[in-house]
Symmetry: C2
Subunit: 168 residues, 2 copies
C-alpha cells in the first residue's frame, strides 16, 4: 500500500515530510470500460452518435490464444474539447472497476506522479499499490493509483514520459 | 420513450425524416454522484487532493423538511482543462445511476439538443423521456437524455439557453 514518494532527483532533498509541491495536471480523461471486445464497437458508436473523433488507439499487449482480435487497451476519442478513453474490460482492469458500462476511472495526467499521489494521499485518498509502468498502464506510461473517499479510482499517469532514463 | 424532435422553429421545415444536421458539442462534463449530502465534502476533497478549482455551485431547489442543508444539485470543478460535476445523489438522480461513487453520467453541452438526441438515437442510443427543462436538469437548463448501448447515460443539455423565448 505504501507509495514511493522519492524516485530519482524529482523529490529533491527533502525526504519523508516533504514540503508541499505544486502539482499541475495537464489533462483529465474519464476512462470507460465496456464489455470485453466491444470497445471497438463503442468507439464506432460514439463517432456515429456524437461525432466523436478518434485521436489515438492502443491495442492490449496481451492477446489470448482464443482471441481473434486483440482487445483495446484504450482508444481516445475527442468530444468537444474533452477526451474519453474507451477500453475493453480485461482481467487486469476488472480490479479497477466493478461494473461494465458505468464502470469508470479518471486518468489525471501530470509530469510528477509521485508528488500528485502524495498530495492526494495527504488529503485522504488511499494509494493502491506502487507506481507502475509499461504495458498495463492506462496510457502506456508510468501510472500511480489512488482511491478517493467516494469510491472513485484515479489513475495518475504520465503517458508521455518513458522510463528508459529513470534507471540511469 | 418518444422524443420530440421538433420544438419550435429549431428543426426547420423538415419534420419526421429530417436531414442530417451538424451537431456541435461545446463541452463534455462527467457528472459524478456521491452519497447524499457528501457532495460538498467531495468538492473540498478534490480541491485538497488534486488542486481542483470550484467554478460553479448550484444547490438543489428542493429542500426536504428534515434536511439541515440543501443538497448540491451540482458543483463544477475544474481539473486541468476539463470540468467535472459533483452532485448529491437524490431521489431524482437515482434513476440515472445505479451506484454511488462510480455512478456517473456524461453531460454533453450543445446549442441544439433536439438534433443531438436525434443523431444519437439514429446511431443506436435509446431516448429516455422527453426533453425537459428547469430545476431538475443537470445544469439548470434544457436537457435530453439518451442511454447508449453500453449502459452509459448521456445528458444532452443546453445550460446557457433559458426557455423563456421558446414558447413565442
Amino acid at each position: 500500500m505504501a507509495t514511493e514518494a522519492t524516485n530519482g532527483a524529482a523529490a529533491g532533498e527533502t525526504n519523508g515530510a516533504a514540503k508541499e509541491k505544486t502539482v499541475t495536471f495537464t489533462s483529465l480523461k474519464p476512462q470507460l470500460f465496456v464489455e470485453s471486445s466491444k470497445a471497438s464497437d463503442a468507439v464506432a458508436f460514439y463517432k456515429a452518435a456524437f461525432g466523436a473523433e478518434e485521436v489515438n488507439r492502443v491495442s492490449h499487449p496481451k492477446r489470448k490464444a482464443d482471441q481473434e482480435l486483440p482487445l483495446l487497451l484504450s482508444a481516445e476519442i475527442k468530444l468537444g474539447s474533452s477526451s474519453i478513453l474507451i477500453s475493453d474490460l480485461t482481467d487486469d482492469s476488472t480490479a479497477l472497476v466493478k461494473t461494465v458500462g458505468t464502470g469508470l476511472v479518471f486518468c489525471l495526467e501530470t509530469e510528477d506522479i509521485e508528488a500528485a499521489v502524495d498530495k492526494a494521499v495527504k488529503a485522504g485518498a488511499v494509494a493502491d499499490g506502487e507506481i507502475t509502468e509499461g504495458e498495463g498502464a492506462c496510457c502506456g506510461g508510468r501510472v500511480g493509483k489512488v482511491k478517493d473517499p467516494y469510491g472513485v479510482v484515479w489513475l495518475i499517469c504520465n503517458p508521455a514520459k518513458k522510463c528508459v532514463d529513470v534507471e540511469a
